[in-house]
């Protein structure tokens, strides 16, 4: 033999063979023991975990944590156990402890979305806005082990709520638009986005999204109604009126839309500032505006002296030479009257209030 036999190694054959035989024997025994040990550890860890889950489901969070920790002390690499400890600590408000476990989960798997989401919640609760935003983004763009798209969307909505609560309007709008982009064929989500945009952002963007929904789903009454409200907020009463009418055709029982339509109809009748009106029509509308304002103010208990001069102007029979100027004067009188209105007066005639509010702007 070459240089690798016992003689070549310069060692007596007997001890060498015995040593290797003993080593293989001990190796085999250790393998057997290690397998048993591993199985037993898994079994114990799983038992602790199950007990913990049972306790947690009964609201015994403190005891559940101990069981989860016992499980984790045996199976230290188990992410499910670690996550269970972190989530339970979070529910108990023990944020600093929870953070430690979550950081460990991230150290092992930085792209995992769940720890990032939980860290975002901790940061949000502690008022660390930027950290929360960063963690939310990592959660949104991270890896979700199951139901990824749904969880991602839920996280986006959670971020939107957080941003809204923090008063961060621009990021809210950005997120909402991102959500709309991510759900091109989901009318419910898009309606929800548009409704929030209407609250926080430019109405025309909300209107655009509603329009998209309506285009894809012509029989969507809710979208039509929303579209109407968005157009109304954007100052396009005519478009809003048409949308409300379509919504009512699709869903005649929508009382809220019906009220909106009634208000819009009346506002359109009253408004002397609409484009395309003839000067005579404008003049007549301006007189009707003063009368409506005076009537409403009278009902609200406004100062009679102010109302008297307005009514006097209305009772004049002579037709002014320049109807356009007269209309402008009347509008100014109505505006002036309305500016001195008592509290709560606007609620009596919402259509009038809407017209005069637009005039004031």
């Amino acid at each position: 033999m070459g240089g690798w036999g016992a003689r070549g190694l310069g060692i007596a054959r007997g001890p060498l063979v015995t040593a290797f035989a003993a080593m293989f024997g001990v190796f085999a025994l250790t393998t057997f023991l290690a397998r048993w040990y591993d199985a037993e550890r898994q079994r114990r860890a799983e038992r602790y975990f199950q007990i913990g889950e049972t306790l947690a489901s009964r609201g015994k969070e403190e005891e559940a944590i101990e069981e989860f920790r016992n499980a984790l002390s045996i199976a230290r690499g188990n992410r499910e156990y670690r996550l269970a400890v972190a989530e339970t600590l979070l529910r108990l408000g023990r944020f600093s402890e929870a953070e430690v476990y979550l950081e460990e989960l991230l150290a092992a798997d930085p792209a995992n979305a769940i720890p990032n989401l939980l860290l975002a919640r901790i940061a949000a609760r502690q008022g660390r806005t930027q950290a929360a935003i960063d963690d939310y983004h990592r959660a949104i763009y991270g890896y979700w082990p199951e139901a990824g798209e749904r969880r991602r969307m839920e996280t986006r909505w959670e971020l939107v709520r957080f941003l809204a609560a923090a008063g961060a309007t621009k990021p809210v709008i950005a997120q909402l638009l991102e959500i709309a982009d991510q759900a091109p064929n989901d009318p419910a989500t898009k309606r929800r986005v548009a409704a929030m945009l209407l609250k926080y952002g430019p109405a025309n963007q909300a209107a655009e999204i509603y329009r998209d929904v309506v285009r894809q789903n012509p029989r969507d009454a809710e979208a039509e109604a929303g579209y109407g409200r968005a157009e109304l907020a954007a100052g396009n009463d005519a478009a809003a009126q048409a949308a409300f009418r379509r919504a009512l055709r699709l869903n005649p029982r929508d009382e809220e839309t019906r009220r909106e339509l009634e208000i819009t109809d009346r506002a359109l009748e009253l408004d002397p500032t609409l484009r395309g009106l003839h000067s005579a029509d404008r003049y007549l509308r301006s007189r009707r505006l003063i009368a409506a304002a005076a009537d409403t103010l009278e009902e609200c208990g406004a100062d009679p002296a102010g109302l008297q001069s307005a009514r006097k102007a209305l009772t004049a029979h002579a037709r002014p030479a320049r109807l356009g100027d007269a209309a402008e004067q009347n509008i100014a009188v109505a505006e002036q009257l309305w500016s001195a209105r008592p509290q709560g007066c606007a609620d009596r005639d919402p259509a009038l209030a809407r017209v005069l509010a637009r005039i004031e702007r």
């Binding site: 070459g2 250790t30 037993e40 920790r69 002390s73 230290r76 690499g77 402890e97 460990e104």
Partner: protein, 561 residues
């Protein structure tokens, strides 16, 4: 079969065989420690953590029973397995020519698995070190190693056992160098490293790559925190001094008790530990789970301090009662808890930003260890290996060094030296060797002779300068000198050159910074050695004779006394 030259290795030298044997030792030690680890857990599951859960009676009684049975094994069956393991391994190196009986391995395994598994406050590392040394010694005897090699085999196995137990190969190597071998020797270092690495590979194969502790990310939040860490070092140092003194007192006290009470001590200790375990279950056994929990901010600062103090007391009782088991894990536990507790206090009252509590737990871990065992490099690297964080190094160095210095100042005798002395053994320590001033050639050398001759100088000219009875120093080449003795000069033809009067073989050259021990080895039969400068090696700056060297040693001992 025809041998071709490049395949035929020939028999290996003893050094190569020793290195191969080191790998084998590492594998065996690793396998043994894996089984040991499994045995401890299996006993704990069977005794304390049954499917029915813990009950108070069992918690109190089981440690006492375990201690009783383990002490019985040690005192009646496996006597060679007594002691913590480190002192016994050192004794094997310095006294028994590396002999550790295999019965010590078996006895340590059974007794310590029982005592630690049943909850006595002791650790598995020291027994693993001793078992590794035993395996190595057995293999060394089986392979008929020379006496010199046999003396070195025990530390090789010790490093393997410790590395496997801790899963920290660097710290294990350093500890064996610092404490067991008590000296840096290149000859054994390679083998120690090989065996430690082999053992760790085996352990990780079976038990996974998970570190001993899962350590959260550490950051030094503010420079002023270093003051807090220094404070932890002070506390660790002072506590370690108190602990070591208490161990000495307790051991002295228990050794004076009658033999018939030798089983009572560990039972009493076990009962007390079990009783403490009813309120503080974390202090039972090695306590790694509790350290891990502390690293995860599990306990408030007052609980951490309480755990540290209770653990210290529990370990004192068990170790003082001579229950089989080691001290490494309990010292880490105590340091971790005290450090974490003080860190928690700092978080409440320190005026500057502080780190998370886990950082103080991690740093504290090494301070008590450094103070008790006085192995500063081991304590630093151990924390570093456990945490895998470079940022932690600076606070650890500060805290551990302070603890070490306080312990050295207030407790002159190192811990293992003290234990050895209690057994009637006087064993060296690296610390004591560090304190001995090394002697060098420059401490002994005499000035260069005024006459240094060229080879072609005549004998007559040389004799004229040096006179009868002197020897001539001849420069035979650049940076080479030889001598011609007085007898050779007398016998030579006065007209002949010095080159013809004697063989003029160059003398071994030494430098002034060389140790006197190394210079003495080179002296051999020569009357002196030429001393030259490293900057200009061809220039003779002095000579050193045997008398010079002996005078230097004699003057040195008078200074030390």
């Amino acid at each position: 079969m025809r041998r071709t030259p490049y395949l035929h290795l020939g028999p290996l030298g003893e050094t190569q065989r020793f290195l191969l044997l080191s790998i084998l030792i590492g594998i065996f030690a690793g396998l043994l420690v894996v089984c040991f680890h499994i045995a401890i857990d299996a006993i704990t599951w069977a005794s304390l953590e049954t499917p029915a859960g813990r009950n108070q009676f069992a918690t109190v009684v089981i440690p006492a029973l375990g201690a009783l049975v383990s002490v019985f094994f040690i005192s009646r069956v496996f006597r060679a397995a007594h002691g913590s393991g480190v002192t016994e391994t050192k004794a094997a190196v310095y006294i028994s020519d590396g002999y550790v009986p295999f019965s010590a391995v078996i006895g340590k395994f059974i007794a310590c698995a029982l005592s630690i598994g049943t909850g006595n406050s002791l650790g598995p590392e020291d027994p693993s070190l001793h078992m590794g040394a035993g395996v190595a010694s057995t293999l060394g005897r089986a392979f008929d190693l020379s006496r010199d090699r046999m003396r070195l085999i025990a530390p090789v196995g010790a490093a393997a056992g410790l590395a496997a137990a801790f899963n920290t190969p660097i710290a294990a190597v350093l500890f064996v160098i610092e404490e067991v071998v008590a000296g840096w020797s290149a000859g054994v270092l390679g083998s120690i490293v090989l065996s430690a690495v082999s053992a760790v590979v085996v352990v990780r194969w079976f038990l996974g790559n998970q570190p001993l502790f899962l350590v959260p990310q550490f950051e030094l939040t503010h420079a002023s925190e270093l003051i807090v860490y220094a404070g932890i070092g002070v506390a660790g140092g002072l506590l370690s001094v108190g602990f070591v003194r208490a161990v000495r007192l307790l051991r002295r006290g228990t050794s004076r008790l009658p033999q018939r009470l030798r089983y009572v001590q560990p039972v009493v200790a076990g009962l007390l530990v079990g009783t403490a375990g009813v309120w503080f279950p974390q202090v039972m056994g090695a306590g790694y789970g509790a350290i891990d929990a502390a690293l995860h901010n599990r306990f408030p600062w007052n609980m951490l301090i309480a755990l540290g103090l209770v653990k210290m007391a529990a370990t004192l009782l068990c170790f003082g009662a001579r229950t089989p088991g080691g001290m490494f894990a309990p010292t880490l536990f105590t340091g971790a808890m005290i450090g974490g507790g003080l860190g928690g206090l700092a978080q409440l009252h320190w005026p500057f930003p502080t780190s998370a509590a886990s950082a103080y737990v991690l740093v504290g871990m090494g301070t008590f260890f450094a103070g008790v065992f006085r192995a500063p490099m081991t304590s630093i690297f151990m924390v570093f290996e456990v945490s895998a964080s470079y940022v932690i190094i600076l606070p650890v160095m500060i805290a551990n060094t302070i603890a070490y210095l306080i312990s050295r100042r207030l407790q002159p005798v190192p811990f293992f030296t003290m234990l050895g002395a209690a057994e009637g053994l006087e064993l060296p320590s690296l610390e004591q060797q560090r304190e001995a001033a090394p002697l060098r050639v420059e401490d002994a050398m005499s000035p260069a002779p005024s006459a240094v001759f060229a080879k072609d100088t005549t004998v007559a000219s040389a004799l004229e300068k040096i006179g009868d009875g002197g020897c001539a120093v001849v420069e035979t080449g650049e940076g080479e000198w030889a001598y011609v003795g007085a007898a050779a000069l007398k016998a030579a033809d006065p007209a002949s050159a010095l080159a013809g009067a004697a063989s003029l073989e160059p003398l071994p050259r030494v430098y002034r910074d060389l140790s006197l021990d190394a210079a003495m080895r080179r002296l051999g039969p020569h009357p002196f050695l030429p001393v030259s400068s490293r900057r200009r090696p061809y220039r003779l700056i002095g000579i050193v004779t045997l008398e010079d060297m002996l005078r230097a040693y004699g003057a040195s001992t008078r200074r030390s006394a």
